[in-house]
């Protein structure tokens, strides 16, 4: 047991939590605005690719993160065009966006960098780790939250900002009203489509950053289909929390914990496929427990 809980384990929790958290925050505002966006997987994947692209050509990790944001925004605009203007079904659009991002990132990987599978290069600059001297002398916290990438601190701040924003700010209220009943908002003189568009753009930015964390902060390379189901875990977390940021944060920390645990127990000789499965199993179990409780309390069956 001692081998599992070494310093590396504690510092990996934050690294693995951040991408899912950022994407889930993006998903949660979509959820509150009544947009059923289950394409987070695709958003993360394209963000991750664009981050590597930007970081490689601009030789600067922050420009890489910026280009990841543009990748996310690109997909948001596609989502908005087909969902808001052409009134397409969000589930179908999400499926299409997932496939589009998978195809596009692999295609561009192979046509621009002329490699297939993995692209790693010393020119890819990684986002710097930030050291906070205050935590240097606190034993566990030092390992847990010190020396992480800037996106980790950003994501923690965003959780609280988003919580405040949705609860007390005027724009947050508009978002919630759009989700509940768009016509109410229209009658008070605000265009609900505009609000939904802004929400989608915000979601694109957050998911792009999630991708950047995955590719140019955690590792510094790009692998085909790098998001590997993280977007779906984020979707499940959003559904379970009803888009509320604070419970979302704790749930995703749990997933991150399991994720890093699964990395550690690989060292104990368990086959890799079984340990990689662990986060999905935990996700499914949490989903079942929460849904079952809801079913019992509402005592209403769908079928």
């Amino acid at each position: 047991m001692i081998e599992i809980f070494d310093p590396e384990f504690f510092s990996s929790i934050a690294r693995l939590t951040t991408p899912i958290l950022l994407a889930a925050l993006g998903g949660s505002i979509c959820h509150r605005a009544g947009i059923f966006n289950i394409g987070l997987e695709g958003f993360i994947l394209l963000g991750a690719f664009m981050a590597v692209l930007g970081s490689f050509f601009a030789n600067n990790a922050f420009l890489g993160a910026l280009s990841a944001i543009f990748g996310g925004l690109f997909l948001s605009i596609i989502f908005a065009e087909f969902h808001l203007r052409r009134k397409g079904d969000p589930i179908v659009i999400s499926i299409a966006i997932n496939i589009l991002a998978l195809g596009l990132s692999t295609y561009l990987l192979r046509s621009i960098f002329k490699v297939s599978g993995v692209f790693s290069h010393p020119e890819i600059k990684k986002l710097p780790q930030i050291q906070l001297p205050i935590f240097n002398n606190i034993p566990i916290l030092d390992l847990l939250i010190n020396n992480q990438s800037i996106l980790f601190y950003l994501s923690i701040v965003i959780v609280f900002i988003l919580h405040y924003f949705l609860k007390y700010h005027k724009f947050g209220l508009w978002i919630r009203v759009v989700g509940e009943n768009p016509e109410v908002l229209r009658s008070s003189g605000v265009n609900p489509v505009k609000i939904k568009f802004l929400v989608l753009l915000l979601c694109g930015i957050l998911c792009g950053l999630a991708g950047a964390q995955l590719s140019i902060s955690n590792v510094g390379l790009f692998v085909e289909n790098m998001s590997a189901g993280r977007g779906w875990i984020a979707v499940v977390a959003v559904l379970l929390c009803g888009g509320r940021p604070i419970p979302l944060f704790f749930l995703i920390v749990l997933f991150g914990l399991v994720d890093s645990l699964s990395l550690r127990i690989q060292g104990l000789g368990l086959p890799q496929q079984i340990t990689e499965l662990l986060p999905y199993i935990v996700c499914l179990v949490v989903l079942i427990i929460v849904s079952y409780k809801k079913l019992r309390t509402l005592s209403r069956t769908i079928y």
Partner: protein, 353 residues
């Protein structure tokens, strides 16, 4: 007023042109990024989707078409009943593995062995779909996420099984042993096209019969339109859900079996996941707006894009993932024309507009 009605008449035409124009611009851009020779790429695309020596490539398109149409039927069966079973991938993989495993066990029986292994693939796929049905009905898990999350256990467990207990170590790859020749699906005479496409055609006909000539098909269609209507009529909704899901999963299992017995003759890790058969099937079913009659057309269309792109890669060094991009963009352009799926899922019934 005059100009408005003029626009109204020509709007559909303009929209079609807009879609085609955008798709062509996109293809142009992608080819430009890959530094491809345009005429060579085009020639490669056409030649290898429908041409080739002795029509060899046309037959490979047909064998892809069998898989894609099969997965499209599997998705359609569930969607038509308002059940968002997007876990076709898991059902496909489980079915394929079960078939490869049984095929090795019953390889002495020849033709009967083929039937037994296809049936075991079917049962495995149906079981996997029924698990998500069970979670939906008795645990309240939304089918959309429940069925999707079950993809990952299917993928990782089969990956484990072919990497460790059932691995053909001498081949050097994570795959099961090669099936003996007497359980391979026979080829059509003088071609490299296996009989899988006939099996899919049989499935297609059976589904047509179920849809239009049986009580279950009628109930399931009504459930897709309005769950509360079916419920208030006193019909056994749970049974209909289970039956529909089992049918959908079984078809996915059959597709996996055909891929194993007809094309690859063994189960290789990731062989059914990588080409996105399940997702392409879902897209194909949506492209024809859940109309079963047009499924073969949609299947052929997407299969031709696949094999054409593979030819482009061979001849003009354009990565074959261009097919995936084109498919996604096509479905994006038709999505506004489709009925709203969420209306089906949220039990409000289909709206009039």
């Amino acid at each position: 007023m005059q100009s408005k009605s003029f626009l109204k008449i020509f709007r559909p035409t303009i929209e079609i042109f807009y879609a085609f124009f955008s798709i062509f611009i996109l293809i142009f851009l992608l080819l430009y990024l890959a530094d491809a020779n345009f005429s060579l790429a085009f020639k490669g695309f056409v030649n290898s989707s429908v041409g080739g020596r002795n029509n060899a490539y046309l037959f490979s398109t047909f064998s892809k078409m069998a898989l894609i149409s099969g997965m499209a039927i599997a998705a359609l069966v569930a969607f038509r009943g308002g059940l968002f079973n997007i876990g076709g991938e898991g059902q496909l993989v489980v079915g394929g593995f079960a078939c490869a495993f049984t095929g090795l066990l019953v390889s002495d029986f020849g033709f009967i062995g083929i039937i037994i292994s296809i049936i075991s693939g079917m049962l495995a796929g149906a079981t996997w779909a029924l698990i998500s049905g069970f979670l939906t009905i008795y645990m309240g898990v939304p089918l959309l996420v429940g069925s999707l999350l079950l993809n990952y256990p299917a993928r990782f467990i089969t990956s484990y099984l072919v990497n460790h207990p059932f691995r053909d170590i001498q081949s050097g790859l994570p795959q099961t042993f090669l099936l003996p020749k007497n359980v391979w699906l026979p080829y059509f005479p003088n071609t490299r096209l296996d009989l899988g496409i006939l099996i899919i055609f049989l499935v297609y006909v059976i589904c047509l019969i179920i849809f239009y000539n049986t009580k279950h098909g009628y109930y399931s269609k009504n459930m897709g339109h309005s769950l509360s209507y079916v419920k208030l009529s006193g019909l056994p909704t749970k049974k209909i859900v289970f039956k529909t899901l089992a049918l959908s999963g079984a078809i996915a299992g059959i597709v996996g079996s055909i891929a194993v017995l007809g094309i690859h003759h063994r189960f290789t890790d990731g062989m059914l996941v990588q080409p996105l058969y399940a997702w392409t099937g879902i897209i194909a079913a949506l492209l024809v707006n859940l109309n079963l009659w047009f499924i073969p057309l949609a299947g052929f269309f997407f299969a031709a894009i696949y094999t054409g792109a593979a030819g482009m890669e061979r001849i003009a060094q354009v990565p074959k993932e261009i097919a995936t991009v084109i498919q996604a963009v096509i479905i994006l352009f038709v999505v506004g024309k489709l009925g709203s799926l969420s209306n089906l899922s949220s039990n409000k019934g289909v709206k009039d507009d």
